[in-house]
Amino acid sequence: MSTPYAKLPGWVEYGLIPLVNLVVAFAVAGLVVLLVGESPLEAAYHMVNGAFGRGEYIGFTLYYATTFIFTGLAVAVAFHAGLFNIGGEGQAYVAGIGVALACLWLDRFMPWYVVFPVAILGASLFGAAWAFLPGWFQAKRGSHIVITTIMFNFIAASLMNYMLNRVLKPLGSMSLETRTFEAGGQLPRLDWLMSIFGLSVGTAPFNVTFLLALAASFGVWVLIWRTKLGYEMRTMGHSPSAARYAGIKEARIIVITMMISGALAGMMALNPIMGETYRMQLDFVQGAGFVGIAVALMGRSHPAGIIPAAILFGVLYQGGAEIAFEMPSISRDMIVIIQGLVILFAGALEHMFRPAITRAVLAFSGRGRTQAAAKGA
């Protein structure tokens, strides 16, 4: 009586409903392509081929996915504690300083496997620090985290402008970036992983950060579902009044959660800086912090959902770039529209088809039962 939505079998909940949402999103995207006078089928071909057609393309897809796994995890961790961290963008951006400092300091005389852990630490520290303040304001002053984290994105952008202009840019250089790192600041590509499948990574910047992303996913799962801290976070996220009753210190959990979230968002910086460009450039985050929100939503804030959702957005980025390249009348902005549609249908309108699907599933299983009964009789 109290549950108007029936509990659905797992394959419907986690398989069928997201799939239907996705299909509808692509169908509408197809209409948009049709509207500009291009063939949706051709676009679909370029999308799929561009994302999976070659080892190199797959490498690019997974390179993007790596970035989105981190920002998705960051949003998910905060979400479990009932916090909506929109500041992944800024946290990742500022974390770039941590990565850059580690590389600039050590790259000339240390191998990558020494620099990498230091850079991870640096990224986490700077990301966590940037998330600490909004968390602390929320915990102590009640300033809403959604507002403050958005504000901190802007502050981060200005700060990084300053840092790259005045502090980190080599003397005499015209472009807003650090110097290019030596070998110690360059992460190895995952050629060996691709070659297991008989593929070549080519020029794709698919690097060891991907493995770190997988490890972080597992770490987040352990944290949320297997530790006392995760238990307290989830209690607070579901019911702040129950958390108070249980003696869970709200302020402490808010601050710690935001710092973990910021650290995860921060690790995203490793991927482009040490894995692709080997230097920190202006605007290297490129909206990945916001994509993380969609990834967390689609992935239901669970690492097992976030990884495929991140790969899906990797496909949209890589395949989308391919469409823009192959079909000149479809600009990059069109790709943004398609991504927006996926976010709209898979995130915001997640429940739109649920009642209909529920009815269909129930009718089907109901019929199955009566048929079984008829057979039995």
């Binding site: 009586m1 352990v222 238990y231 579901h238 108070r244 009753y245 249980a246 003696g247 869970i248």
Partner: protein, 511 residues
């Protein structure tokens, strides 16, 4: 008088896999008071929501005054002459009585003409049914009893001939409830038909002409009230014989386990909710706090258990002070032997989205025995949860099921098991049986008495006066944040009722 006001034929309603109403047939005779009883989740509210148009039945027919009507929304129901008084009032708190009554029946987009018409109509209704309410009073300033009258007036203003009341006495003092019953009698005398939904058997016996019993979505029986008994109805509701009285021996109070001195608590708006309250709680006794909901009982429990800061006062637990005005910590108090079953299990006592086993450690998740290195020892947690499931007969016996999927009674057992199995010295219990089915009530009451007999000090808050009287060894009555009197459990209901209403009765010696 054999005309039917309402006839339901074969009403069937499912929510997904939950079959809330199964082929319900019901006949309500015109000009009678018809009771509908059943445990929580029996489908009473669903049935009435269908009648009032909130839900659509999957199958079945509704006949009002002999005519079949397709009730698609509350407006159709109102047009058909059906009015509903909800358990939680649907009033705009800062509107006047008149404005609330008019709301949704303004008649035109300029209010003036409507207002004077409404005022005249309201006067007539008040006179006809002896429903005195000042039309210009603001709702939030009225006591709940009067607010409820406004709800009734709203229905009558919309020319309701059939009035559905959903658990109307839950928020009323005994005196207010009596007054409500007189109003209902009056309405009946004027030819109105009344459907009364309740789980209180006494009310059914006191006021209804006929009573229908629901159990697990089915209508199991309809009886003439005069020809049935409380015992029969209880048995019909539960499906087996139930013990309505609690068996309980003499209390043997020991030393003071919890002492509260001059405790004052204010809410977030600065309103004093607990006002200079003092009492002692001894080992081996149950002290009941009676009172109408909202008179400071909740805040008292929260302050003692460290959830809410007190403004002033001292509380000692087993001789040691609790820092109630400063940094009292619910987690720390648990380790010091204070267990707390909160009033609101849905929002406070449980996290409904958690698995049963996760709720079985809420507040005790710090316990080292649930930890294995850095991570939680899931096996130990589940083992403990399963032991409690066995001992408290929690159904379904599945520690991995989501807590929201347990019935109210079983949810309450999850909380009770968690708090009682820690061998606390002091047990604070708020509303132990709110929304709990009759069968589980019996079990819960027994467990509470057992705790007392094991020498625990039990502080009990309940808005069910019967429960307070049945369980307590001493009764404190709270009104407007103060303890206005102490009575023995054999004090008369009238005496307690006066105290609960804030009318000081003659002082009876308590000890």
């Amino acid at each position: 008088m054999d005309e039917l006001a309402i006839e339901l034929k074969g009403i069937d309603k499912s929510f997904g896999l939950v079959h809330a109403n199964k082929d319900i047939n019901l006949k309500v005779r015109k000009g009678t008071i018809h009771g509908i009883i059943g445990e929580n989740g029996a489908g009473k509210s669903t049935l009435m929501s269908i009648l009032y148009g909130f839900y659509q039945a999957d199958r079945g027919e509704i006949l009002v005054d002999g005519r079949a009507i397709d009730i698609r929304d509350p407006n159709t129901a109102i047009t058909a002459g059906i009015g509903m008084v909800h358990q939680h009032f649907m009033l705009v708190e800062n509107f006047t009585v008149l404005e609330n009554v008019m709301l949704g029946a303004e008649e035109s987009w300029i209010l003036n003409a409507g207002i004077s018409r409404a005022r005249a109509e309201l006067k007539r209704l008040e006179k006809e049914y002896a429903l005195d309410v000042n039309p210009d009073a603001v709702i939030e300033e009225l006591p709940v009893g009067l607010q409820q009258r406004v709800e009734i007036l709203k229905a009558l203003y919309r020319r309701a001939d059939i009035l559905i009341l959903d658990e109307p006495t839950g928020v009323l003092t005994p005196a207010e409830a009596d007054h409500l019953f007189r109003i209902l009698e009056q309405l009946k005398a004027q030819g109105k038909t009344i459907i009364l939904i309740t789980h209180k058997l006494r009310e059914i016996m006191a006021i209804t002409d006929e009573v229908s019993v629901m159990r697990r979505g089915e209508m199991v029986a309809t009886r003439e009230t005069a020809k049935t008994s409380v015992e029969e109805l209880a048995e019909l509701m539960v499906g087996r014989r139930v013990l309505l009285r609690v068996e309980k021996g003499e209390a043997h109070p020991g030393e003071v386990k919890l002492s509260v001195k001059n405790l004052t608590v204010r809410d977030s708006r600065g309103v004093t909710m607990v006002d200079d309250v003092s009492f002692d709680l001894h080992a081996g006794e149950i002290v009941g706090i009676a009172g109408v909901a909202g008179n400071g009982q909740s805040e008292l429990l929260e302050a003692i258990s460290g959830i809410r800061r007190a403004v002033s006062g001292k509380v000692h637990l087993g001789g040691e002070a609790i820092d109630v005005t400063g940094h009292a910590d619910p987690a720390e108090l648990r380790w010091r032997g204070l267990a707390h079953v909160p009033e609101d299990r849905h929002h406070v006592g449980l996290v409904l989205k958690f698995e049963e086993s996760e709720n079985a450690i809420l507040g005790y998740h710090d316990d080292p025995k649930y930890r294995k290195g850095f991570v939680l020892d899931i096996d130990a947690i589940r083992a403990d949860a399963e032991a409690n499931i066995q001992k408290y007969d929690i159904r379904p016996p599945n520690a991995r099921l989501k807590t929201a999927n347990f019935s109210g009674g079983n949810q309450q057992k999850i909380v009770l098991a968690r708090e009682m199995e820690r061998d606390p010295d002091v047990l604070i219990i708020g509303q132990p049986t709110r929304g709990v089915d009759v069968g589980a009530i019996e079990f819960i009451h027994k467990r509470i008495i057992e705790m007392r007999d094991q020498g625990k000090a039990v502080l009990l808050v309940s808005v069910e006066l019967d429960e307070i009287r049945a369980l307590s060894d001493r009764i404190l009555v709270m009104f407007a944040g103060r303890v206005v009197g102490e009575r023995k459990p054999d004090a008369s209901e009238g005496d307690l009722g006066l105290l609960m209403a804030g009318v000081e009765g003659p002082k009876e010696a308590a000890e």
